[in-house]
Each structure stands twice: as structure tokens, then as C-alpha cells.
Point group: C2
């Protein structure tokens, strides 16, 4: 059962619940069923009809406010005026493709690349995280002339054919590629004691050996440095270094999937890998890059990109268009101008402290962990570590009723995934903790 | 040599030309080289630095106007105020993902699906044409439990790993998939006489048989009804019907790639397949759908989508977000409100007539063909049909010098690809013909 869990379906609308919805919401759901289909994923037992957003707040059709602690896209705040103005201005000025020259794309690339380790000086623009991971796989395969890929056992990297094959969390109906091997995520809660980094590296070495034994040449490892889909693992800093050394020793590339931890979310730095003191061979990014505008990218070393670009070519019609570049530039300006990396660090520390207090009062909380504003709360059987998925689902839906939006992560769906916009304020963090406490009090 | 031709590189900047550029343009090119890399594709021997667009016109840094007869994205006109206003309004109101309820996505889906054949009642939203084709392949594979795909021999369907494998025009460094078979496009110019549709169908039947002989179960055929990358073939109407019958008789699906001919471009109807009286099993769309905003989609029958959606799941973070839906809705409203399908038909007829006149005066023009505002001009050796790539390249660059932008198509790069915005006016069509005539006069 757990193996078949799709990361998307945990809090999906129960069809039997349809008749209990208010007429307006039911009408929307039915229109949705008749156009997108009844199996198109929808959040919550009682789905949420949204009409506007501002800062960390979303508002429903009755103007009720919800504190958004889930959506890692509108990362500088919903409908941030600086980003909206940039999109409106550029959409009204020039919207062509990158085979023409225009200044803003290079200005953006320069500003983005300045946040990267020195060796990473090339950017390819795409529209989505999935496109970025797919492109990174194509580049890696071409550069290494190899196909073997290592991912964690409940990873999610995206939705194209090739990327679904390296996303085990997509469920049993989506086969993992024959060229793919999985390793357990560096889970220090369920596997305490010992050196989590050394254990992870040993698993990676074993996976490389297994690929070689099957005659599959090793190309590289792709991981998200917060292991979001696996259940959010962030400590100790540096736990990835030994595994990355092993990857490189075997001739593979280390691909950092920064779609989730990137753009300051971990509080320690602009990029999740920097928190671990790493310099990847390829970095893929997406979600918060344009605060909602579809823009994503791949950053790498010139020698890795060059042969692929020369021989295979890559052109993305919408990728890096002037509006995308303007939106992405505005996001960098807001992160810098409003000090959002530092705020993520400060508010993340405050949030973790509040959650630790709840943990001391509620035995169902097995673990609290995170970096900056990427935080996990793991629910387990009191006194043990058995995953408690049911309580997690009740908490997510209970918080929705109390005006707070969060999601879940992990192979057993028993980890709260908390990712508020980076602009969240102290009183909003406290509100989240208070509401979570209220829901947990009801569980007693 | 021709086999290695990448569709993107024909008119690329020659590196040796760099020193002849004006200082400002050279500076931009160098900034581009230092960020995107020197192999990132760029148009024209002398690249074009654009600063704004309006209607069918683009303007360079010196405010020189260029008539855009190439870009099949800003299809209702560059920076159309109605589309820009919709993007600005919705970006400032709500930009979340489709797992929440919001009205505009369903309103858009209803309006879009109303333009489709009756059986096609389900829409999945993505961000790019490549994502749409990739998703269509995943759905097809799941529904047919088969992998064999037929494409034309110089097709281009996109840039993901799986889609590059069905895009032979991507060049020799990008292998065609082992589960893919190619058939010649229905070319009535180089293969005159006989029934072009019957010939195409015979080739498709042979390809199906070959797949079966290799133990590869046949899944379907994907073609673009104007065969854009193969060289633009549009006549006679209905030439695809017999091949589609053969595909279905063998249990395969017919996937219509409408990224190029869709949204009214062929003048006869909203969709290229309607011109041939066909009803596809799956339709993929992209480029002009949001007039530059990254939005794309897949339309199919409920029974084809249902199993895939239920078992494999598909969620696209940016796909169908409120801003994308608003932009796409505005595009449909402009197409309808300004009568752009009829204008494409009328202006296309005018353009073909003008080009026929040029053909009668210039022996280098071997053929003129097209539907609506998707028009090809094939250059051949005078008196013969040998492709003349050199003159085509000179014409494209000569027109750029005279303020008209067009591109090329076909395996030999000897077909002018003419696709002005659907809002082009009669005097602008005449200007294009006049300028082309001037360039050809210089060739004498």
C-alpha cells in the first residue's frame, strides 16, 4: 500500500465527499471533472476555492484568509508587486525567443551565476523543473557517454518520460528505469546512531558497483539536498560530501536538484548544496525562480555543456524569453532587497523552536527537523517510530479548517512538509505553531 | 552533410563574423557567450538586437522596424494589449497551482474544448509543446500498452529525452529511438503524380509491419498536419485520412501535433486536422496558445486519459495556473473577436497569389504552397528540383537586411518558412512579397 502511494494523492478529495460540499464549490468540482477529468489531483477532503493571494496569505471565495505554509513557488510572497510589475512591463514590451539578442536575459544570467560556485558559469533556460531535470539527464548522458543514474528510494524529480523513470515516488504504475538504482535517503531519525554521511556514501558505492555488475556505465547521481519527497533530511550539514566524492571517483556527475531547496529557502545560503559545502557539476532549478511565472534553468560548467550544445543542440521556445527573465530578475531583486535568506534563517529557527515545544507536549510527534523554512514534522506511534499516516492526514485537513495550508512528504505520508513563503513574519510563524497545537490538542 | 543539419542552425551567427558587428551588438553577443555559451542558437549572420514588439512588427535597438513573418508564438500580434492586460491582472490577483479550485481554468477548458471534435472532452495543461508531446507519449504508451511510434523522416516534435527520440531532424548526434520508425512526408513537389495520400498510407502500413516484425508493438503515429519541419506540405486536403485509418486498423492512436498548425493558422479552421476532416485520438498544442506566455496542453478522449491519470498521476506545478489560463483565454477571445481565422485565410490567399507571381518571374522558386498563414517557398535548381540551400540562406539574410524576418524548413534547408502573426494586414503581406521580389532580383 505505502509503495503505491503517490506523493500527490494523500489529501485528495474523496469522491464520496462531493455531496457534502456547498453548491458553488460542488459546481466548480463538477466543471473540473467534465474538463480535466475526475482523476486530476485536487487538494484536501474539502477542496479549496481560491480567489486571490498576497504575501503569505491566500483568500477563498468568501474572503477567508489562509496562511500558506505549503507552496514553494510564490516564495517571495503571493503576487509580489515588484514581480507582477516586471511581468506586466516586459509582457507589454517584448516577448520573443532567445535566438534574438536582448539585454535582460544576459543581465539575469550574470546575476544568477554570481550566486553560484566559481566553476559553474553556464546557464540553459527552460520553463519547468521537469524540463530542467530532463535536460540535465540529456547533458549528463552525452558528457559521460553513460546512462546509469542513482536517486534516493522515494525521490521525485519531475514528470517527463525520462524524469518519471528516476522518480520512484511516482508509484508502482510508473516503472523505475532499468538504468536507475535507488539508495535510501540519509534518514537520521529511523536510522539513528553512526555516521549518516558515511552510511549514505556506502549505499551509493554499492549502487555504483551494482550498476557496473549489470554492465550499465555509471553517469551520475541526482539528489535534492533537503530530500523533500523522501521525508526532509537536513542534518548534519555536510552529510552529502562523502557520497559526492564516491560519485566523482567513479566518473559520475553530481547533479543538485535545487527545485525545492534553491533560492534561499534553507536559510543558510541561496542554494541547498552550499549548506553542505558542495559544488555540483550540474544544478537544476525551477519552482520559486519566477515566483509563479513558468521559468526554470540548468547551470553547469562550460565543458559539460559545450559538446551537447554543439552536437545535439537545445532550444526552448519559451525558455529565457524576456518576460521570464524579467520575472526571474525581479525575484532575485526581492530576495536581496528584502533580506529574505536571512529572514528564512531567522523564521526557520523560530519555527523549529515552536515545533520542539509542541513535540515535548505531544507524543505523536516523533521528530522535528529542517533548515530555514523547509521543515518536517514526523508523526509516529507514541514511544516508537512506526509511521502514523492517519494522524498526519487529519492534521493537514484540520489545519486547513483552521486557515493554515501545509502538505505531507515521505514514503509513508507521515511527515508534515512546511514551506511558507520566505517573507513570513514572526507573528505568522507563531500563528502556524498555535494552530498546529490546537489540532494536536484535539487528537488527545 | 544535410543529414547532420540541425533545424536550428541554418542561419546561425558565424563566429568569424563577430568582429564586423557594431560595438553594442558585439558586447551583447559576448555577454551571451559568457553566460549561455557560444553554442546557444542565435539567428542570422548578423544577429538582431530587439527591444520591443507590437502587432506584426518588431523593433531593434535603433528603432528600426522589422515585419515579423517567422514567429508562430505571438500569433495574435506582439504584446497584444488584451493578452498583456489579462496576464497583468491575473498575475496580481492569484498565481497558485491547479490542485486548488479556481474558476478561470475550467472556463478556459470549456471554451477550448468547444473548438474540438465532440469526442475530445478532456484537457491536461502543461507549460510547453515539448511537455505536451512527452505527456501524450506517456498516455499513449499506458493506454495501448505498446511503444512503437511512427513519425515523418524530418519531424521535430520537441526537446525532452523521449521527444528528441521521435524528432529525426534533431541531427545525427541525437539517436532516433529503437521503437521509432520514420516515413517520408507526403511531399507532392519532389514526388509528383499519383495519390499522395495513398502513398503516405502505404508507407505508414509498411512501417507498422516493420515494427511488428521487430517485435515492437505499435502504439501510434504522431504528425503535424502541415509537416512544418519536413518542408510544409498542405495539399491535397484529406491526404492524411487513409494513413490515419491504417493506424487505427493496427490498434494505434493518431496523435495530432498542433503546436505549429493550431489556433487558426491554416485559415480553414481552428485546428490543422480539421482541414483534413480528421478527429484525432490525442491533440497536443503549445506555441501560440498564450501568445508568448508559457502555456501548452494535451486534449484527448476521457477513456484514454482516465487510466493514466488514475494510476500514474500527472501534476504540472505551473501547468494551468490562473495566469496561464487567463493568458490563453485572452488569446481565444482575440482570435474570435478580431476574426483572425478568417483573416489568416484571406491574407494567406493574398500571400500565395503574390508568391505565385514571383515564381513566374524567378526560376529559382521551384514551388509555392501553404494553407492560411503557414506558407512554404521551395528553392530549387532552375529547371530541376535539386534543393538550393545557398540561395535560401541568402534570401533569409537578405530579407533581414530589408526589414522582414522569416526562417527555413525542410531536410535540405531550402524551403522558406513564412508564418506571420494572424493579424497581418494586406499592405504588410504586399510588403513581404515586394521585399522578397527585391532580394530575388539581386540574385539574377
Amino acid at each position: 500500500m505505502d509503495d503505491k502511494l503517490n506523493i500527490l494523492d494523500l489529501n485528495a478529495l474523496d469522491q464520496r465527499h462531493l455531496e457534502h460540499l456547498d453548491p458553488e464549490t460542488r459546481d466548480l468540482v463538477l466543471r473540473r471533472h467534465h474538463t480535466l477529468g475526475a482523476d486530476s489531483p485536487l487538494f484536501y477532503r474539502e477542496p479549496l476555492h481560491l480567489v486571490r493571494g498576497r504575501g503569505p496569505w491566500l483568500y477563498d471565495a468568501r474572503d477567508r484568509a489562509y496562511l500558506d505554509c505549503y507552496n514553494n513557488v510564490a516564495s517571495v510572497g503571493h503576487c509580489h508587486p515588484h514581480v507582477v510589475a516586471a511581468i506586466a512591463r516586459e509582457a507589454g514590451t517584448l516577448a520573443v525567443n532567445s535566438r534574438y539578442l536582448y539585454d535582460i536575459l544576459y543581465a539575469y544570467a550574470e546575476k544568477l551565476l554570481a550566486t553560484m560556485p566559481q566553476t559553474l558559469t553556464r546557464l540553459a533556460m527552460t520553463c519547468t523543473g521537469s524540463e530542467s531535470v530532463d535536460l540535465a539527464l540529456r547533458i549528463t548522458r552525452h558528457y559521460t557517454q553513460a546512462s546509469g543514474i542513482i536517486v534516493t528510494s522515494h525521490a521525485y524529480h519531475g514528470n517527463t518520460t525520462a524524469v518519471a523513470e528516476i522518480s520512484p515516488s511516482s508509484g508502482l504504475a510508473v516503472p523505475i528505469g532499468q538504468h536507475v538504482r535507488t539508495v535510501p535517503a540519509p534518514d537520521s531519525y529511523l536510522n539513528p546512531g553512526g555516521d549518516v554521511g558515511a552510511r549514505f556514501a556506502a549505499d551509493v558505492r554499492a549502487a555504483i558497483a551494482q550498476l557496473q555488475r549489470h554492465g550499465i556505465k555509471f553517469a551520475g547521481m541526482i539528489v535534492d539536498s533537503v530530500f523533500s519527497s523522501d521525508g526532509i533530511f537536513t542534518e548534519p550539514q555536510g552529510f552529502l560530501c562523502e557520497a559526492v566524492d564516491a560519485v566523482r571517483a567513479a566518473g559520475g556527475l553530481y547533479i543538485a536538484d535545487e527545485v525545492q531547496p534553491g533560492f534561499g529557502r534553507t536559510g543558510a545560503a541561496m542554494w541547498g548544496f552550499l549548506r553542505h559545502g558542495l559544488s555540483p557539476d550540474i544544478v537544476v532549478m525551477g519552482k520559486p525562480m519566477g515566483n509563479g511565472y513558468p521559468v526554470a534553468g540548468v547551470v553547469t560548467r562550460p565543458e559539460i555543456l559545450q559538446d551537447f550544445a554543439r552536437n545535439c543542440g537545445y532550444f526552448n521556445t519559451f525558455g529565457g524569453n524576456p518576460v521570464a527573465a524579467a520575472a526571474a530578475m525581479a525575484v532575485l531583486e526581492v530576495i536581496e532587497g528584502e533580506g529574505l535568506v536571512a529572514n528564512a534563517q531567522a523564521m526557520g529557527t523560530r519555527l523549529l523552536a515552536g515545533l520542539e515545544t509542541l513535540k515535548s507536549r505531544h507524543a505523536c510527534i516523533g521528530d522535528v527537523r529542517g533548515a530555514g523554512l523547509f521543515v518536517g514534522v514526523e508523526f509516529s506511534t507514541p514511544g516508537g517510530t512506526e509511521p502514523d499516516r492517519e494522524i498526519t492526514s487529519r492534521v493537514v485537513n484540520g489545519l486547513r479548517e483552521r486557515g493554515v495550508l501545509i502538505g505531507t512528504a515521505g514514503p509513508h505520508g507521515n511527515v508534515l512538509k512546511i514551506r511558507p513563503p520566505l517573507c513570513i513574519a514572526a507573528e505568522e510563524v507563531d500563528l502556524l505553531v498555535t494552530r498546529l497545537g490546537e489540532v494536536l490538542d484535539q487528537e488527545r
